[in-house]
């Protein structure tokens, strides 16, 4: 891994008394200077100043895969050629990496063609088909949130467009099809689909919440007293409650300290967009744009550095009538189109529409200057779906595109093909290990992988 001169300089401002976890490995990463350190005298957490912007991670997910014949890229840099499905990325060929051939072994092995292959996209875990046991695996974004999310007001943003469907699919809860981010193996991260509430999360910073804290202290005590009175099997649920209180209290406490007296400053201190309307937008493209704008806002305010956004749920029946020449709903009509040429053409348009959203995020981030570098330069963006050929529920390779420079850790403008390199060398979880590593979280293994993805 490269250590640039600039990055090394950044580390010198670290206190010598400080203890730096995993020092050798992490020095390369510019934002690591802001790791919370324990000051010997006070025992309080302090954040040493950094002059470099942190790296942000965002994953944009769309469901039901793509039309494979249109999904390709070749060449590199400005001369890269893109398949029709990727057309909206034309202006950003030098900002992206096209990755072919990654897969999750547990998804392929699962017999449930949708729900067995989707909630594990970012964890590579097995999806439990036991109806009395909702279980997948903690996803890489939530690993990041739990490891480094404490540095910002919000550990992560977990966004979506569609609510959880209230039905069982083949006896399995649709909670599976509605969540790509899982806080633990048994618990999805709460997904926000309301732009207004997302905005409030970002803008309300927890200051002036002394009273809330006092209420939480009271009910925390309630919960502790309750815990010893209930059956062991119920305690797991109550523990979620206890953890939640703990998380909020920590956040309130963090907000009342000013962690950023000097060093790198976010490019915004106040939101530069109006608060969205309370209602759920009825217009899908407008809804998506708003959610992506909110990710940009979150990054600019440095309220979080980790975000995921589901453009649709698995098995989504999102109606694409808003695209010219497209009629019908995503899953039943367009994905499973019976190879009708007219419908295939419509399906391609939906693929392009999803890619377009990603292109929009790239464009927005690229326009923001963070002191000589763009916000895109300091980001790692991932666009993915859990199936390649949606019609055939094909999980043995997944469509994935990276964008950004990861603060100098990723070289864009490339096409990487792993399909023929053997299963051990093409695991999606290897990519996640690498991405997490570049975000400053260093794991030996994750999901079904114990090595990084080569050549990324």
């Amino acid at each position: 891994m490269n250590t640039t001169a600039e990055q090394s300089r950044g580390t010198q401002s670290l206190s010598r008394r400080s203890f730096l976890r995993g020092a050798g490995f992490t020095l390369a990463l510019p934002w690591l200077e802001s790791l919370p350190l324990r000051a010997e005298e006070s025992g309080k957490l302090v954040t040493p100043p950094s002059h470099k912007p942190p790296v942000r991670f965002a994953c944009i997910y769309f469901s039901n895969g793509v039309e494979p014949i249109h999904w390709w890229a070749k060449g590199s840099g400005a001369s890269m050629e893109l398949g029709p499905g990727l057309e909206p990325l034309e202006p950003f060929r030098e900002d992206m990496v096209f990755i072919r051939g990654l897969f999750n072994a547990q998804a392929v092995a699962n017999t449930s063609p949708h729900l067995g292959r989707m909630p594990n996209l970012l964890s590579g875990a097995w999806v439990s088909l036991d109806q009395n046991d909702i279980r997948v695996g903690k996803t890489m974004d939530q690993v990041l949130a739990q490891q480094i999310g404490k540095r910002t007001a919000l550990p992560s943003l977990v966004l979506g467009i569609e609510p959880t469907e209230l039905r069982l699919e083949d006896g399995l809860s649709m909670i599976y099809g509605s969540c790509i981010s899982w806080a633990s193996a048994t618990r999805p991260a709460t997904k926000e689909i309301y732009p207004a509430r997302t905005f409030d999360l970002l803008v309300g910073d927890g200051k002036g919440r002394r009273l809330d804290r006092s209420i939480l202290d009271q009910v925390l005590e309630d919960a502790r007293r309750l815990r010893i009175q209930i059956a062991r099997s119920d305690r797991r649920k109550l523990d979620e409650y206890l953890e939640s209180i703990d998380d909020i209290e920590k956040r309130i406490d963090r907000a009342s300290e000013d962690g950023r007296l000097e060093g790198w400053k976010p490019t915004l201190t106040e939101p530069n967009m109006p608060r969205p309307k309370d209602d759920l937008p009825q217009d899908v493209p407008e809804h998506m744009t708003l959610m992506l704008d909110l990710i940009v806002l979150a990054f600019r305010l440095d309220k979080t550095r980790i975000a995921t956004c589901m453009l649709n749920n698995d098995l989504s029946q999102m109606n694409f009538g808003f695209l010219a020449g497209v009629k019908g709903s995503l899953h039943l009509d367009l994905t499973h189109n019976g190879r009708d040429p007219e419908l295939e053409a419509m399906y391609l348009k939906t693929n392009q529409f999803h890619v377009q959203q990603f292109a929009y995020l790239i464009k927005r981030l690229k326009e923001i200057d963070e002191g000589g570098q763009s916000l895109l330069d300091n980001s790692l963006l991932l666009l993915c779906s859990n199936l390649l050929d949606g019609d055939r529920h094909q999980a043995d390779q997944m469509p994935m595109i990276l964008a950004g420079r990861g603060g100098g850790s990723l070289k864009p403008g490339r096409v990487l093909d792993y399909l023929e390199r053997g299963d051990d060398n093409r695991r999606a979880c290897s990519l996640y290990l690498t991405l997490m590593d570049r975000m400053g979280v260093h794991l030996d293994r994750f999901g079904d992988a114990d090595r990084h993805l080569a050549g990324i």
Binding site: T111, P113, Q131, D133, I134, P163, T164, R167, L168, D170, S173, M174, I175, S178, P188, T190, Y194, L201, L211, S214, I215, L216, Q218, V219, E221, D222, L226, Q229, I230, A231, R232, S233, D234, R236, K237, L238, E240, Y241, E243, S244, I245, D247, I248, L280, N319, G321, G328, S329, L332, D333, T335, H336, N337, G338, D340, E342, L343, D391, R392, H393
Partner: protein, 1061 residues
Amino acid sequence: MAERDFAVTSSLLKQFCFECHADQHAEAKINLKRMTSGAPFATGFNTWKKVVDRLAQRKMPPQDARQPSDSQRRQLISKIREQLQIVAKQHAEDPGQVIMRRLTRAEYAYTLQDLTGFDLKLEHDFLSDAVGGEGFTNVGLVQFVQDSTLERYLEAAKKVAAHAVIGAGPLQFFRDPGKTGFELSAISRIQEIYRQHGFRTGAGEGGEAFGLDRYPRAFYTAWRFQHRQKLGLGNVTLAALAADEGLESRFAEYIWSVLTRRTSSSPTSEIVARWRLLPVPGGDHKQLATDVRAQCEGLYQLLHRWHNTLGQNADDKEQAFLLTADSFEVAQVKPFVMNLNNWPDGASQVIVHVFVEIVQGGGKQNPVVIWHKPAIQFRRKDLRLEVPRPLNMVLSRKSADRLAFGTHPKGGTVGRGDFVTTGAVSQTFDLPIPAGANSALLTVEAKLDVEYGDDCIVRCTISETKDALQGKTVSGLLANPDGSTFKAWVPGVLEFARLLPQVSHREPAPSDRDPIPPPFDNSYNNPERNDYHYKIKYHRDDQFLVDRILDDAMRERLDQAWTDLWASFEYHDAFLRFVIDKYKLDMAGRGIAERDLSWIETLPAEPRKYVRDLHRGYDSVHKALEAAQSGHVEDVIRFTSYAWRRTLTETEQARMRSYYEELRKRSQLGHPKAIRTLLARALVAPDFLFRTERSRPDGKTPDSPLSQWELASRLSYFLWSSLPDAQLRRAAQAGELDDPKQLARQARRMLRDRKSRRLAKEFFGQWFGFYQFDGYRGTDPQRFPQFTDSLKTAMHDEAVSFFEYIVRNDRPAREILFADYTFLNRELAEHYGIENAVSSTTIPQRVEGVLRFHRGGLFGLGAVLTVTSAPMRTSPVKRGDWILRRVLGTPVPPPPADAGSIPADDVLSDGLTVRQRLEDHRRDPSCANCHSRIDPLGFTLEHYDAIGRWRATYRDGQPIDASGKTNDGKVISGPRGLRDYLASHQELFQRTLSTKLLGYALGRRVSVSEEILIEQLMSEQQGDGRFSHLVERIVASKQFRYHRGNANWQPKTGIGGEKKQ
């Protein structure tokens, strides 16, 4: 026990089944070898059930394989069934694991609605729900809490707390939050008391008369009391008789005292005298009662006329007229304006009546009234007014002669256009109507001429009818204010106004036609008056109501409401500023709170009076507020016990109180804020958000019998999706719920209650898939522009009302499938092509005999037919799968990942219909197995289009074939064929209903331990078995009444042959 027997079974299975169902290549993933060698029989329970079914149906072993003899087959079947029975019995003791449930989004909303009495609309996508278990949101397993969830709960709790009304009365809630809500709550409470107990004639702007029937009822009550002995009422009290009439006893007593007074002056005396003339009982009491009632009504009419005469003294002033006990003034000259517009189309003349009555004359009979400058102004149809013309120029000759214009009978001088009347008269004149006029304005000034006539008090009336009491009139009194007759009469009028007023109270917020209190200038449209309405806003004027009508408890509530209203804004300061401005006092910018008595004493006498009153008022408001504070803390504790659905322990109560103290002292919060914080705290507590069940093993097993409170909650969340109501709380408190009879009684009561509509929404809606259908977005709007929001809502209402009807009227469970009725509003009826059946345009109404319109029962519901369709076409596969899965409970396995698909539209470019495509698809043997089960069922509903309308052909005119051949060779066709098919497979639906309802009640999957219970539930549905029977069975079950204590609990004895002992 059965081990050796089962060894026989094993050997038979080995002989005939292992070839396919053992080791790695176990077909259909059924490995009988493993299942018979050591695995507990219970773990393979459902598979064993399948095995025994296949054996009994002779589907296994397959025809091309070696077959067991009939006796071998029988032996196998009976042995496996025996084992199944044993296992089912052993597990029937297990209440199963119900993971602690948090309130679902709907439950949370209903609970708060029932707690506060208001739908605070907080639930709107407040939390994300998911379904689990048997397909419902109330399953603990899929309910997650994260910090952001808790943040939302906290935010919602604070919002609810903002709706609390914290004033002089007990804690309550109001639909609007905060300061505005506090003010509006006070007004609405005041007005509610006023409206319930007060009365008013139509005085004030837009004011409608109400409550005046109190008078005739009070007269009647007083009559009954007077003659109580003769009426055979014995020693009945006046209060009891008042109660018979729905009258406040204080008011009845008061009216009694007025009617039995020794002396009273006119006009009160006239009323009293007439009352005393009511007949004395004797003979037919019933007829008499009717007569007396009618006479009391007449007595009231008399009273009412006096009110009108004295109160409505003119109608050209801007003030609202009302007789008050403060003053009574009358003029000698009075202008009248009468709008004449009641004439029929094409009428050539209108007749106008003029009356003069002697109201008070002290025996003098000859008043003279001069009608000065009467004029008429016609208005044309285009609203243009003509020039006013003197009446004498317009009238017919005959009429003009009769009125004798220009002459004074007593010799006085009058104008040429004037006329004069003497004595009590009733004059008539006809007014010819010019062509094109459709109304007219009659103006005249009447003057009492005391120079030539008697000094009487007269009432002048202009009327369109012969009877001065009927129809449209204008009326007014004329008197000589300086004359002795009037002066002698005024005290009597004022007494009348006081004793028998026409309003019991004024509006709390005076309209701009109502008078405002002294010292403010009452003249209309002056700045002082307008300012009063904007700034001081309220005026309490309800002495009669308080003194003469309300009982003590109601007085207290009214006082509390007024205290709140005054405390809701700076009433006293605003008033003080007015007084200070008015008397040009030195204000020094301070409010009432900083004014002390010594300052007040330095004021001039007149303002001093007002300021002192204000000061006193301010003090009493604040004392009342302070006095209520400690009660509010106790109110919150009571509220918390409702919210937590149990009584609070001493410790919990003490913690609440000390938290309040801490908030007041340490956090320096004011009382309302502290109370709101306390409320919010109660609503984010785990005991509110979760349906907690504490573990208290009963000693015999690790299981815990639920406490009375926990049982009450299970019951209320099962049937109402909300907390127990007062009756259920009382039963829990009294320990009645241990008694199965009481439990069943409560369940039946609750099913009848309006709130069980929620069961229709939550349980049936989630089961059949029409949950939240009013927000359904799965239909293509371009293809189906008819599918409007209102149609969606009507379909949703139809489905919910249908199931609500079954639940609340305790219909036979089979009507779910076979009912011959449904619920329609006009829009939906038209959508279904049912003409003239329905009048309601909003709420759906029940329509019988709809089978002939292809409606009735589950399969005719528009919402169901729509959700089982694709956006642009019907989907026989979806519908067939839905019937198998949700109705029959026999789902087919999911399709293989590469199953392929059917295109979106029903008219395809290759000209093939959906049916043809499916037939192609079924030629593939890997598909045929399932689709031969799915498709025939799905096609029976093919005559319903994707938005539930009946159709004869597809869009391109191709005929619809709604038939299909089931696996057992039967051909079924159309919805009728489907119903017949289901009628012959009722046990499958009965099992599904039992399983779903039980799964919903318990919030988990139904398993082995419910096997026997399910069979009982199925037997409850035989014949006309009612829905309530199922519910009673469920709530009486051990599963419903116990909480499993330990996740690792195992049956006490080994199972089957697999545990070697």
